[in-house]
Symmetry: none
Subunit: 239 residues, 2 copies
């Protein structure tokens, strides 16, 4: 069974969202909203399916309908909490006041009632992701490689003692490389991770940005080579 459509590994910077909702139309709609926001949705149509996905990989956020056939939504929620700390937004029909209170109590982070406003869903997802990234200590705050220091809190990069200023794209690329310094990233990897879009073969933009990034890095320290090219494979931090 092929779970991920893109066959993708969970990249840093790529945001995966699991949508647990039995109504097919609503599920599709939610996925559409998510995709439009630049994240990667995955549909699950039952509690059992949801749990399978939960065990398969980590998720950055979960949208969970409480009224599921078979397994109860609450059981899924418990499973999520077992799994670790993950942002959860509960979806539920209106006027289920009792449910609302008790689920928020049992560890949901936010709440959306059906019928929902598309923009609101989008905004709540964004907000929750921001909130988690703000408080989440799990992600390293400072990445170091050779004499590069990348501070993801201040979003600053120091090379050879001096601060260099990168554009957002350059910053994300560097962060991607530094988060797995031994890994080789193909152009497709970089593109899909940083741009959040599917990579369609013959594109030169990643090349260009890496070139610019290299320039800025070597401007701060001309004696070092930081990003190496693995011919026919991709790029990697030079160790």
């Amino acid at each position: 069974m092929n779970i991920r459509k893109d066959g993708g590994i969970k990249m840093p910077g790529k945001i995966d969202i699991l949508v647990v909702e039995d109504d097919e139309d609503i599920n599709q709609l939610l996925c559409k909203i998510i995709k439009k926001s630049g994240y990667y949705p995955q549909s699950a149509y039952s509690g059992t399916e949801a749990i399978m996905y939960l065990e398969k990989q980590n998720w950055d956020l979960i949208l969970l309908d409480l009224m599921l056939p078979g397994m109860d939504g609450k059981a899924v929620l418990e499973k999520i909490r077992e799994q670790g700390v993950m942002p959860v937004i509960i979806i539920s029909a209106k006027n289920e006041k009792e449910t609302k209170v008790s689920t928020l109590r049992s560890g949901a982070d936010d709440f959306i009632t059906k019928p929902f406003d598309i923009d609101e869903v989008s905004a709540r997802i964004d907000s929750l992701l921001r909130r988690y990234r703000y408080t989440n200590k799990a992600t390293e705050r400072v990445l170091t490689h050779k004499d590069i220091q990348l501070n993801s809190e201040e979003k600053t990069v120091y090379v050879n003692g001096q601060k260099i200023s990168l554009t957002v794209r350059e910053y994300h690329i560097l962060k991607l490389f530094m988060s797995s310094p031994k890994k080789i990233f193909s152009k497709a990897n970089v593109f899909e991770s940083v741009w959040n879009e599917l990579f369609y073969g013959d594109d030169n933009t990643v090349n260009v940005h890496i070139s610019n990034l290299r320039n800025k890095l070597s401007q701060a320290n001309p004696n070092e080579e930081y990003i190496e090219t693995i011919w026919g494979m991709g790029y990697r931090m030079k160790s």
Copy 2:
């Protein structure tokens, strides 16, 4: 039931106050007073709702009416104490002498009787926060950066020796920046923190307020640049 619309990151320096009162008019009035004092109120109209909010996040202070429909106010109070140490002000109708003694005994910090005087409420809130903050010490009362001095007790700001007058929004923005002077705040961060509402993407109000704030700051000292723009990322105090 209106769950707060915020993306409420509990930022340092941002003071959240929960108002538990079933009478809608009184609740609104209290919220108004609180807002005017520069804090962030959240209405709860029942005991169950109150408890939900209690479990959702931490609160700096709670205003609690004892006469609630459904769940008793005392039960809420117990729940509060379970949750940890939080300042609580009890609101209650006059001439409930019995109640006054017993609730103060059960862990309330202060007591206001209806009908109340607006200034008195405001004063009691300030006083109680001050008392707690003295022992807490978590929040600085005077923030300093370059030649800016922000006194959160008096809610005054001095730049280059001279006092400048800011609007409430401007004040909060500046305070947010100064509370973490090295951190970059995105527009969404600023909006959700200062406005306490969900951020819906393409909004210009933060821009405008920051522009106004910059004008006022540079009017007091034209030679300095206090708030810098990090392109594509947000804003930050210039160091």
